[in-house]
């Protein structure tokens, strides 16, 4: 091995340093005195050796002679592997089946948060449609709306703590989730009151819309290609919520608009969650 490396170095030195004659180079040749290399030449040679053998010199190795250099290089380059023993079967794999690795608890948590959030958002969408079509608020309706908002709030807070990769959809959901849970609880605890319920729904829609606006802006910086669509839907939801709120203040009946705003908000939540919540890493997709 030393002899082979010596021959390779004997060929490499004139390639890297054309002015150096290696015809009389031996194992004991001194780089400076016998071959005439100065410190700059040694640097050039070091780089050429690193490129050829794929390792890196320490800052100041001792290399006065060719033999010193070979002693330095030998332990740092891959040795040729010995031929496989005859008749020896390759070590069997430990019976682990091929296929996807088992999911970690963290990945399962993100997946669960994503699914629960989508289901809660779907219920929100349906409740909005119900408000548009039915319109007749009763105590039972108030309780149902309250239950949906509690579920929505719990899903949002679970999403916040789930630590998905993109941290877009759930990044601001702790506050909005808490508001949602409190509002849902109020629906259960307070006496039946259409006006208060409608005010609270409008405020929720406006707050959630602004949260999604923030997510859209962050998605743009992050590199999500459909951030425009996210921005547009967020602006729509905020606008609908504000208009419904104004109508309510003017003592008019905002039932239809409130229901629509709730439905659009629910739909927007579903789409945002599907598009921006990444459960686990994979190679970057060129176009989504």
């Amino acid at each position: 091995m030393r002899e082979k490396l010596f021959e390779e170095l004997k060929a490499l030195v004139p390639e890297a340093l054309p002015d150096i004659d290696t015809a009389k180079m031996t194992m004991t040749s001194n780089f400076k005195e016998d071959l005439g290399l100065d410190s700059l030449n040694m640097v050039v040679l070091a780089v050429a050796i690193e490129n050829k053998y794929g390792f890196r010199f320490d800052a100041t190795p001792k290399m006065d002679t060719v033999s010193d250099l070979i002693d330095y290089i030998l332990p740092r380059i891959p040795q040729p592997s010995t031929p496989a023993g005859t008749g020896t079967a390759p070590q069997a794999e430990s019976g682990t089946p091929t296929g996807e690795a088992e999911e970690t608890p963290a990945v399962r948590l993100v997946r669960s948060a994503k699914i629960i959030h989508i289901v809660a958002s779907a219920l929100l969408l349906l409740s909005g449609i119900f408000v548009c079509i039915w319109g007749g608020y009763t105590t039972v309706v108030q309780w149902l709306v309250g239950a949906i908002f509690i579920l929505m709030g719990a899903a949002s807070m679970l999403g916040y703590f789930s630590n998905d990769l993109y941290r877009l959809a759930f990044n601001h959901d702790l506050a909005i989730g808490a508001f949602s849970v409190i509002f849902g609880g109020m629906c259960w605890l307070l006496p039946y009151d259409t006006t208060t319920l409608t005010y609270a729904v409008c405020i929720y829609v406006i707050l959630d819309g602004f949260t999604k606006l923030q997510v859209a802006i962050e998605a743009k910086t992050f590199g999500m290609q459909r951030w425009h669509f996210m921005l547009g839907t967020a602006i729509l939801v905020v606008g609908m919520g504000i208009v419904a709120f104004i109508i309510l203040i003017c003592r008019a009946e905002p039932r239809l608009l409130t229901g629509l705003a709730l439905s659009v908000d629910g739909a927007e939540n579903i789409w945002n969650t599907v598009y921006t919540v990444k459960v686990k890493a994979g190679r970057a997709v060129r176009h989504d």
Partner: protein
């Protein structure tokens, strides 16, 4: 652990920058590639350009270029050129994205430190600070200009020969100035 995460981001960036120009690389690409979350990326870097800049800077852990702060100045240039050859597309994409001025800004600290090291090593305490600064800037512009011309030319010249020429010329200039011994 933090150095490991930082290195993972840099490695992911280097892989992706071999295939895409800088302006088309997104934080999402990095997050998808190395599996860290978005907030973790922003904990270490402001944006993609920040990651590109750190390829040439001195963090606490080893430089992606394989340059050690203790390296001989000549070795630094050699490793810079070797890295450029082995990561040809990455350097090409960087250069096309940030241009001459961007590359100069990226390499400024690296070249300045190493040239100053070489000048002080050769001149010792004899050379006044103002002369050290001027010579350092002069050589930095010269060395960087040659390197960028080499990038623009498709890295055709052998990096080992170019390293030898740059090192030799720099040392000749430093020694001549030191022997002249006349402050500016």
């Amino acid at each position: 652990m933090s150095s490991f995460t930082r290195k993972a981001i840099i490695d992911a960036f280097m892989r992706i920058a071999e295939k895409k120009p800088l302006q088309k690389i997104t934080v999402r690409d990095i997050v998808d590639d190395c599996g860290i979350n978005r907030n973790t990326f922003y904990y270490y870097f402001k944006d993609i350009y920040d990651v590109a800049e750190c390829l040439f800077s001195y963090p606490d852990d080893a430089l992606p270029l394989g340059i050690d702060p203790e390296d001989d100045p000549g070795l630094t240039v050699g490793r810079l050129l070797s890295f450029s050859v082995s990561h040809r597309e990455l350097i090409r994409n960087l250069y096309r994205s940030v241009g001459y001025e961007g590359m100069e800004r990226y390499m400024h600290a690296l070249l300045e430190q190493k040239l100053e090291q070489a000048i002080r090593g050769a001149a010792g305490a004899k050379m006044p600070e103002a002369d050290v600064d001027f010579l350092c800037r002069f050589l930095q512009k010269a060395v960087f200009g040659i390197i960028v011309d080499w990038f623009a030319d498709g890295m055709k010249e052998d990096p080992t020969l170019l390293t030898a020429k740059l090192n030799r010329l720099s040392m000749v200039a430093i020694r001549a100035w030191t022997q002249e011994n006349t402050p500016l």
